[in-house]
Symmetry: C2
Amino acid sequence: MHSNPNYAYVRGQVVPLDQAFLHISDLAIQRGYGVFDYFRVHNGRPVFLDDYLMRLQESAKALHMEVPLSDEELKEVILDIISKNDIPVSGIKMILTGGYSANGYDPAEPSLVILQQPMALPSSELVEKGIKIITHDYVREVPRAKTINYTMGIRLIDEIRQQGAHDVLYERNGVVTEFPRCNLFIVKHDDTVITPAENVLLGVTRKNVLALADQKYKAVEGEVTVEDIYQAKEVFLTSTTKRILPIVQVNDQVIGSGKPGAVTLDLLQALIKLEEAYFSLAV
Amino acid sequence: MHSNPNYAYVRGQVVPLDQAFLHISDLAIQRGYGVFDYFRVHNGRPVFLDDYLMRLQESAKALHMEVPLSDEELKEVILDIISKNDIPVSGIKMILTGGYSANGYDPAEPSLVILQQPMALPSSELVEKGIKIITHDYVREVPRAKTINYTMGIRLIDEIRQQGAHDVLYERNGVVTEFPRCNLFIVKHDDTVITPAENVLLGVTRKNVLALADQKYKAVEGEVTVEDIYQAKEVFLTSTTKRILPIVQVNDQVIGSGKPGAVTLDLLQALIKLEEAYFSLAV
């Protein structure tokens, strides 16, 4: 049984989660200023960790911040937290904020926060059934950076629920980009696999799925329109916590047969194998 | 001399500022999700408080949150903090966040934070000299709500400094809207006073200046382009902490004579008189 407290890292110290606080002068609280990243932990081991650490560095740079720990130091803290906690299937979030600002606007020494939380991959029922999504007019402000700004995504939670949908896809002028927390892929009738190239976060799962698709199909990063989606043979999303999730309805439009497609499910199996291969290689 | 600690209000309790913390599960830290408002305190008395309380309510509504205190209860807390602290010329910020989220995404009971900080109005030297501003392509996501998302404004601090400017004006496709924390006004050669109508926060100082301008000049809310600014006789900004600040250069373009204009300075005097009248009326 799991009886230890959960531990988190806050500004240089590992503390029990229930004592993990930031001062109200922190620029996340004052101005929503921060970036983060999030990776899965499987059987106590981080999955594709180097990719996520590299992206955290890039997000920090885009907001003119510096991660106060080197990648090696970050890994030490992460492994320390994993060993102190006991959450075999979980996710670890690293948040980097603008720090304790003297005037509530100018950035200070960044605050680094690391926390581990249980997570569940999508159920096999959900994967077999597929999901409905809706679309909404929006482009993220700094698409290549994983900022903490989810004002739009969280504002839309109620509307997603009211429409009986599972997630919302951002589009502007008919060109789609990404979900608040996932990337989009479509499969054309000639089995070409396409994901939006512009104004998206460069997801780690997106990168892996592109590489896998390229081995068996044709894989392309390019423009995808709402109309392309309606005409697609298959549609799916990718993310760290969802892997690959089939999309069978977009707004009022049923996609293809209305069931998860063969290419989608094939890529999901390939992705699971890739994760297994990663673990057999990792020390 | 001022020797008491500064007090803040955090989730139902008045605590010394150095003990004012939010848990890292708060949705401001996890997702930058929150709204705020900010008013001046002059000789220990809030300035135009009802306007700011009304706007906080509207911002909260736009993000589907409820302020946990009634306006009367808010006023009680505010007066309590003012009397405990001793900062005659200051600002009070009220921040309302998405609360302590169980999964780091879904909103919970909102967290309300209230803090008081010293502030200084612009020096008379700055008002006499006027400021340079630059422009940048951006429109705020939920312009009518005062969200805590200042990702763009804070990212631009370095560029403002490098350009020897004082602030940045947002524009898109040549149409200007607002500054990160101020509204814009221009004065045409026929003394018409114009401020952008669309995609701006409805500033309290903006509202007061519009009313004052309407008494002596022609006051209009309408579209303002970058070209309109370059051709204007006078340009100025308004905000709670700046009142009215003349703008004498926009990017490389000198405005009018390159000095603060007569209408601008006239409106500033009228605004100061309005504040005095407010205090002589307020209990």
